[in-house]
Each structure stands twice: as structure tokens, then as C-alpha cells.
Symmetry: C2
Subunit: 202 residues, 2 copies
DNA sequence: ACCTGAACACCGTTCAAGT
DNA sequence: ACCTGAACACCGTTCAAGT
């Protein structure tokens, strides 16, 4: 069994996890992933050299955080799709869950999509991003089978959806979609416009 | 008249501009805006303290770079719209020019949209971003007057277009829209889907 | 008015040495 | 096996002092 994360004990039960948790907390607190590794160590109650027993360098820790971020996002999306609504409603709900995830975790979301950070395990990250894309793809395929969405190469439709949602997420995170600039409910109307492009006429 | 940027002369004619140029070159070279101010000074041939005569801190220089970036993007968009094509073709062409700008200047584009960097002059930046949005808005309004685009609040349509294009730009910059992952011509098909959502039936 | 050099308080990373 | 302390080569920023 694992103890809870305590401050400054003996040998420190699970330093690796404690470092990740401390870093996640700092990313949330500072709204930036430009924390210092030394402060992560400080918060975990160890010397500044200790993290190097668990991560080869700072980039590796950032990479791990991004991985955790994709897992969190994946959980949110699955939760949003766990219902009996129509495919178009599910698409809207999933999109809103995605956008909300970004707005709740802006710095983490930035980290997940910034090549600067974890250049080392970039391949790994792309796989995680693709998992997100696959959720979208299977939803779109379901809609196509039901005759709701247009019968086009599904990968193209998925790229359109993902790009729009990613764009809405980033712009709203940066405060560039405020009502006074862009009208009321910009996210709803953007998603509506997308749906109208995706759906067949009835 | 202004001399060209030379290396290590007298008092240095126009250090401010030389610093900006050096920084822009480094952003392009490293594909990252995580350069050091000391190296910018080095490349401009001055001491590491000299930049502080022209910028209060590093963030101010980053802010200036972002401003230059928005100006460059604005030039590209204006060039793309300087023709006699139909509004829907102009929208496609402008979108492609926008996406290409990001892919040619990925680190600069990242910088332009990252809150981390120039927290000081954030307001200034938002204005620049809004200028970009306004180009889109007036194009959409023109299309509405011609009865090509749907008669909806134009700000919502503009938010949809900008978000999609921003998303396509970032994802393609990060190499997440490669054909093997997302099918051929993901950008074209995404833009097509958008247009179909925007346009009235004929 | 503009720039330099030394100085301060930090980093990331390494490595001998400790438990 | 895991962690510490000192050390190295850097940063960003400040400030007296130079031209």
C-alpha cells in the first residue's frame, strides 16, 4: 500500500509521484509551466538534486505532466459521451467538455501542445493526442452510419472538428473570445456552424 | 538615414532595432522563443546589460516580437485578399495564407498567442489580435451582403472561422495533421466543411 | 545619452560522498 | 538503492562607473 504524500520524512516513500504532484500543483497555481525544478524539489521536501534519480532532466518531467494531462482530458471526454443522446448532441457536449478542460487547466493544456517542452518523448505525446482524435473519429463514424453526418472521408471531418475545438479552447483560454469582442455565446454559435457543415439536410 | 545592422562599432547606431532583429533571427533559428537575453546582446555585439537601456525586461522584448509578428501576419492576410475572387474563395485563400504563416514562423506564432510571455503589454497584444479578427469580420459581412453567407450575427461566424483557422494552424505546426494520421488534405476538407456551414444553399 | 563590468540571487545539471 | 552538498557554467537584473 502507498502512503499519502507527506512532507519531509525518512527516505521519501514515492518521490517520483510526489514530484509529479508538486509540479501539477505548481502548473495550476502559476498558470504557467515555467516553474523551476529546484522549487518542485523544495515542495517535495528533498534536495534539488534528488529529482535526477527519477527523471533524466526537466524536459522528462514536463513530458510526464503532458502525458497525465492527456489522460485527464481523455477521462473528461469519456464521461461526456456516456449517455444516450443523439450523435450531434454528443458531439456538442464532448466539445464543450474539451473546451472546459482547457479553461480549467490552461497551463497544462498549453504544455500538452507545445513542442518546446518535451522534445524527448514527442512520439509518445503524439500517440496520446491521437487517442483524443480517435474518440472524435468513432463518434463521427457512428453519426455517418446513422445517416446524420455527411458521407465524407471521416478523417477529414475529424480534423475539422478537432481543429475547431482546439482553436476555440486556446482562444478562449487566452481571453480572446470575450462577449464584448466577439458577441454572445461565440462557442455555441461556432459549434452550430460546424454542425451545419457536418450534417446532411433533413 | 539608417545604417544597416553592423556588428561591433562605436556606440551602436540603433541598438533597439538590432536587438529585435537578433531576437527574431533566434526565434526562427531555434524554433523556440526560449532564447536568452544575454545571447541576444551577444549577437548584437553589446554587453549583456545594454538591452536594459531599450527594454525594461525580457518580457518587454518578447512583447515587441509578438507585435512584429501580428504586423507580419496582417501583411500576409492583406496580400491574400487583394484580388477579385468571390468571397468564399477569398476566405479560403486568406485561411491558407494564415496557416502558412504559422508553419513558416512556428515559434513566433506560438509567442504571439502565449500569455506566459508578455504579460505586461497583454492589452496591446489583444488589440493586435483583434485587428486580425476584424479582417475576417469585414470579409464575412461582405459575403452576407452578397447573400453568400448565412445571415447570422457576424461576430459568431468570425469566431468560428478564426477558431478553426487558429486550430488548423497550431495542429499543423505541431505535426499533428500529417496525412498518415488524418487523411489527405485535412486542411482543405476542414475549410470545406466550414464553408458549407457558413454558406446559404443555392 | 548610452554602454560596460562587477555583483547578486538565482537556475539546470553533475558528481563525489553520505545513509 | 536513494539522497545530499558542493561545485560548474550558466541566467535575468541592478548599479556604480566609464565614454
Amino acid at each position: 500500500m502507498e502512503d499519502q504524500v507527506v512532507e519531509q520524512p525518512y527516505h521519501h516513500g514515492d518521490l517520483r509521484r510526489a514530484l509529479i504532484d508538486a509540479a501539477l500543483a505548481m502548473v495550476k497555481e502559476f498558470k504557467s509551466w515555467h516553474f523551476t525544478l529546484r522549487e518542485v524539489a523544495r515542495r517535495a521536501g528533498v534536495s534539488h538534486a534528488a529529482p535526477y534519480r527519477h527523471f533524466p532532466d526537466k524536459a522528462a518531467l514536463l513530458s510526464e505532466l503532458a502525458k497525465v494531462g492527456f489522460e485527464m482530458l481523455s477521462v473528461e471526454l469519456s464521461a461526456a459521451l456516456n449517455n444516450n443522446l443523439s450523435v450531434e448532441e454528443q458531439l456538442t457536449i464532448a466539445a464543450k467538455a474539451y473546451i472546459q478542460f482547457g479553461n480549467v487547466n490552461p497551463a497544462l493544456y498549453h504544455l500538452m501542445f507545445s513542442r518546446d517542452a518535451g522534445a524527448s518523448e514527442e512520439v509518445h505525446l503524439n500517440e496520446r493526442a491521437m487517442a483524443t482524435l480517435n474518440v472524435l473519429t468513432s463518434l463521427l463514424e457512428r453519426g455517418q452510419r446513422q445517416g446524420v453526418f455527411k458521407d465524407r472521408p471521416v478523417k477529414g471531418l475529424a480534423a475539422a472538428c478537432w481543429s475547431l475545438v482546439h482553436g476555440l479552447t486556446m482562444l478562449s483560454m487566452e481571453g480572446l473570445l470575450l462577449p464584448e469582442k466577439v458577441g454572445d455565446q461565440p462557442i455555441d454559435s461556432a459549434l452550430n456552424t460546424l454542425l451545419e457543415g457536418l450534417m446532411l439536410e433533413r
